[in-house]
Symmetry: C2
């Protein structure tokens, strides 16, 4: 029999990994709740009609599709096998897929329950998603997303709230971060001003290379991409953009003076920064025009969070969208949201060794016994300790002491209460501190105060 | 555009439903942890080689199978389409399936990590499972299982521990329950004594009907099922089994005197009941020979828990198995486990109206404002309150007061802090108790003590 295994790109989580993941999720959830966000869950399977066409052609291919139950082969003929595309054939034998992200199911949820939901609707959702990507280091076919969104308001106070959430989550986790802020409207304004609305992506890519290849080469690249000399000239103040966020915004106001949408983006950004200052946000916020994530999708603020003390991609990101539910026929729902990358946060905490020392400590005390009478004695003590709220185990068999001690060691249990006939006679246990090795004979009351 | 929907047999969970489910899961988890059980998770998708053949022929059909990525049609020819069975064809285009339960993945996990695991291994696992069953009331295609098991010891102390966990979980949830206890070895003993080892199921089914149809009809049915008169005669003391658990066990000792395995079952049951008495277990435990769940699977104790104050099937069940990992080539791993039925517990709590009144209360206070300056003022107060640990929202726009109040009402927020220019001038807020309707002008310190 071959050793059993799991599908590539998927993972098992051991107790230590689960304890660490729960630490991350619990921290994030507790901050979400502090701001009044409520949890929802959606099914792992969605109808393919809900999922297809929402992630581009490539995304459609990356959906895991569920084979229809029953005799699915009835739905295909030899002719179809010969002539149909794989997409056509798939639609005959599969009508459900695994969710690819939490955004489309959320849009579907909001549309479906529009009459029951109280807007602004503040929700969070922490569930796995699945993508038939080629697995590689740090990229999995099953991974958790951790999304928080508020929909049904275009107030920029929501942007502030997400910034405050980012600040508080990473403060609690002990990770130093920088939040990069951009605005889709500023990018649109730039493209408008230089008369090259369709070149936004090329421009942001070029700006992004400034540090590496220098201004001269960036200008060359822009010309190569087909930007006229005049447009490149107009871009110079933006390429040279530097200084504080206020200075950058001032420059942008001048450059974008002729673009209504551009100025709107500048004002939105100003308002968000003003809110952050008024709310005494200590988080490092940096206006960064190279930030161009979700450009087809976001319509206002764009966020990205990077850890400062470790080389790692973005660990949180998001932005404002003006039309979440339009794909499902419900127009005009504006919202803003961010997504915490649990796997990357896990890696950052591991690399920087930032997990609490006791993250796995579940059991506080193990009873180790020498015989059946001692076992009964331990069971009674354990019951009393659990009633006090302590997590306690009784080693289930009176085994060799070494074996019981090894068990406590491996499970990082800080105390072992050894029970032999002498201890029973005295109405006590021999308490061993597993870290110091010290032993002392204690009564149940003494034991309770030590554990407390 | 048609209204979006979800696949039949699946569910969305709204904030209220999630709050109730989290209440159940958190209660169960906190009890598991009190006994030193640790959480694991396994992937939603398992290789079909792991899943197939583990749930019988019917189970194989109920597995949701994932269509292979890429050009799966390459794997089938027109000849195969014409001649292969659906099972053969499926194996060509699918190599992964969604997990059907948590037991087989757990067995796979234990086998795979046997060298890293510290035995006895006490784990719990709370994850969804998927079955392509015909959906009906109370039966879903996606539902959560909530399993707790200890493997690697045959100590009956583990059975006691699970009984204590059942007692504590339902005490905390406020549900009155009865735990029904049986032992596979007693059933084997009965079959052995009457010389009809293959008739166990018929016998338990017949015993189960005693209340409804009476002894005479049960005896008739047993004869019809092919049991010889002599066997039916020998069964009479068992059919008449009544009284306390001790009295039942005493009768069984006499009836099963000639069966080694039967006596072993009686002694195991006696030991478990003795343990429970020594540990002062208050839970109602009833020896019930009709309990025959998982008969192909369990080898020792069998458990089932029923709610006393509501008509509902078993809400928790489990038992001991001697060969969890044998299917994966790792023999001799004994364990015992139970599974809490979250959906049924949800229904019981709903029917008996046993949820805490504040199960959904997340946000404790909403700031409602009349203008931009008030909004800024509210943001500062909110920050201070959150730093004190209170869950606080600021309505993101200075809307009509009625709209803001409706929001608080719908979200069951107990307090609203109204901020107008007078309140700002006084450095206070007008605090409204949403239940009593009372309003009072308060400082931040007063507000903090009221919320606390």
């Amino acid at each position: 029999m071959t050793k059993p295994s799991i599908p590539k790109g998927t993972r098992d989580f051991t107790p230590l990994q689960m304890a660490r993941r729960n630490y991350i999720f619990d921290t994030i959830k507790s901050v979400f709740r502090l701001y009044g966000y409520q949890q929802i869950e959606t099914p792992a399977m969605e109808n393919l009609s809900t999922l297809m066409g929402k992630y581009g052609e490539e995304g459609d291919k990356l959906l895991f599709k569920i084979l229809n139950s029953g005799d699915w082969k009835q739905a295909i003929t030899p002719e179809m096998l010969a002539e149909s595309t794989i997409g056509q054939l798939t639609s005959k034998v599969s009508e459900k897929g695994l969710r690819y992200d939490l955004t489309v199911p959320f849009a579907r949820f909001v549309t479906q329950y529009r009459n029951d939901i109280q807007f602004p609707f503040k929700r969070y959702q922490i569930q796995p998603v699945w993508r038939a990507d080629r697995p590689q280091k740090g990229r999995y076919r099953e991974f958790y997303q951790c999304d928080v969104d508020v929909v049904g308001t275009d107030s920029l106070l929501s942007e502030l709230e997400l910034i405050q959430i980012v600040e508080e989550v990473y403060r609690r986790l002990g990770i130093n971060v920088c939040l990069k802020l951009n605005n889709r409207k500023i990018l649109s304004g730039i493209a408008e001003v230089i008369g090259e609305a369709d070149k936004i992506v090329d421009i942001t890519v070029a700006i992004d290379k400034l540090d590496k290849i220098g201004l001269e080469k960036v200008n060359e690249e822009l010309l190569e991409k087909g930007l006229p000399q005049e447009a490149v000239d107009k871009l110079q103040p933006i390429l040279a953009l530097s200084g504080t966020n206020s200075e950058k915004l001032q420059t942008l106001r001048e450059v974008l003076a002729s673009s209504e949408v551009g100025l709107k983006g500048v004002e939105e950004t100003q308002t968000i920064l003003d809110y952050a200052q008024a709310a005494d946000v200590q988080l490092l916020i940096e206006l960064d025009l190279t930030l161009a994530r979700g450009l087809n999708y976001y319509t206002g603020a764009i966020f990205e969070v990077k850890a400062l003390d470790v080389q790692m991609g973005s660990i949180t990101g998001g932005g404002r969208y003006d039309n979440l539910t339009g794909i499902f026929g419900m127009p005009g729902v504006s919202g803003v949201g961010i997504s915490f990358g649990a796997d990357r946060i896990y890696d950052v905490l591991t690399e920087l060794n930032l997990y609490p020392a006791d993250v796995l400590v579940g059991t506080q005390l193990l009873f180790a016994t020498f015989g059946q009478a001692e076992l009964n004695y331990a069971v009674k003590w354990a019951k009393q300790l659990r009633a006090e709220g302590f997590s306690v185990e009784v080693y289930p068999e009176p085994q060799k002491m070494k074996k019981q001690m090894t068990y406590a060691d491996q499970k990082q249990i800080p105390y072992v209460a050894i029970v032999g006939s002498d201890e029973m006679a005295a109405g006590k246990v021999m308490l061993k501190n597993m870290q110091s090795g010290e032993q002392q004979l204690v009564s149940i009351d003494a034991l309770i105060s030590i554990l407390r």
